[in-house]
C-alpha cells in the first residue's frame, strides 16, 4: 500500500464533502498535511502499512458518513438542505453493517 494514492483519495474526499466551505476545507487540509508529516519518522513496515490503511479509511469514512448541510437563506424557515451524495451511507444499521464490507471505489468518484 502506498502513501500517495491514500493521501490523494483523502484530499479528494475533503474537497467533496466540505465543498464551498472554505474555513473547514482549509482546516481539514491542514490537519491532513500536518498529521501525515508527523508520521514521517515511522519506519516500521507494519506500522507504516497500518497508518496508510488508516488514511485511506478516513477517505472512505468522510464520503460515507459526512453530510454537508447548507442553510437556505431564501427559505422562510431557514432550513438546512442536506447535500447527500451517491457515496453517503443510507439505510438502517443492518444495511450499514452489510455495506461496510463492500469496497468503495474512491478513484472512480466523479464530481457532480
Amino acid at each position: 500500500m502506498k502513501l500517495h494514492p491514500a493521501y490523494r483519495a483523502c484530499l479528494r474526499s475533503i474537497n467533496k464533502v466540505f465543498q464551498n466551505d472554505i474555513a473547514t476545507l482549509n482546516k481539514a487540509k491542514l490537519q491532513l498535511h500536518s498529521t501525515t508529516i508527523s508520521n514521517a519518522n515511522v519506519i516500521d513496515k507494519i506500522e507504516l502499512e497500518s497508518k496508510i490503511k488508516e488514511l485511506s479509511d478516513v477517505a472512505i469514512f468522510l464520503r460515507r458518513n459526512v453530510v454537508q448541510g447548507v442553510r437556505d437563506n431564501n427559505d422562510p424557515k431557514k432550513a438546512f438542505k442536506l447535500n447527500i451524495t451517491k457515496d453517503t451511507e443510507l439505510g438502517d444499521n443492518d444495511q450499514g453493517r452489510k455495506r461496510a464490507f463492500t469496497p468503495l471505489r474512491t478513484n472512480s468518484f466523479k464530481q457532480s
Binding site: 500517495h4 474537497n15 457532480s112
Partner: protein, 143 residues
C-alpha cells in the same frame, strides 16, 4: 461542477445531430459554430437544445490556455510560489521546491480546475508542468 451536468457523451450528440431533420448536408461539414447557427435559423423551436449542444462541444483545450490556467493555480498555491514564472519546463520538485505531498495537493487542485480525475499511476509520474499540460490535453473530459 455545474458544467459537468451539461455534458453528454460525444456519440450521443452526434446521433442528435444526424437525426435532426432540419440539417442540410453542407451544414454537417461546416465548423461547429456554423452548424449551430444554421440549426437556430432553420428551426427556431430548438434553441434550448442548441444551447445544450454548444456547452457540450466547447472547443478543445489549447496548450497555451492550459499552461496559463495551470500556472495560475501554481502561483496561488502558496506564498512562496507567488512570484514564480511557470513554463512547460518547470519541475515541481526542482524548480518549485515542492515535496511529494505538496505535489499531490497541487495535482488535486489542478484536477478540480479542469474537472477531471488523474489516475494514481499517471499522477505519480507527473514531475513537470509540461507533462501535466500534456496529460490535460490528452484527457477528453478536461474542460
Amino acid at each position: 461542477m455545474f458544467r459537468s451536468c451539461l455534458r453528454i457523451p460525444a456519440a450521443a450528440s452526434r446521433t442528435l445531430a444526424s437525426t435532426s431533420a432540419t440539417l442540410t448536408k453542407s451544414a454537417l461539414v461546416t465548423p461547429r459554430t456554423n452548424l449551430l447557427s444554421s440549426v437556430i435559423r432553420s428551426n427556431g423551436s430548438s434553441v434550448n437544445w442548441c444551447a445544450f449542444y454548444t456547452t457540450n462541444n466547447s472547443p478543445t483545450l489549447d496548450k497555451s490556455v492550459v499552461l496559463t490556467r495551470v500556472s495560475n493555480i501554481i502561483t496561488n498555491f502558496n506564498s512562496q510560489l507567488k512570484d514564480k514564472t511557470v513554463t512547460n519546463e518547470t519541475q515541481f520538485a526542482k524548480d518549485l521546491s515542492l515535496d511529494s505531498l505538496d505535489t499531490v495537493e497541487l495535482l488535486v487542485a489542478i484536477e478540480e480546475e479542469f474537472d477531471i480525475e488523474i489516475p494514481d499511476n499517471v499522477a505519480d509520474d507527473l514531475k513537470s508542468v509540461g507533462q501535466t499540460v500534456d496529460y490535460i490535453i490528452s484527457n477528453p473530459e478536461a474542460h
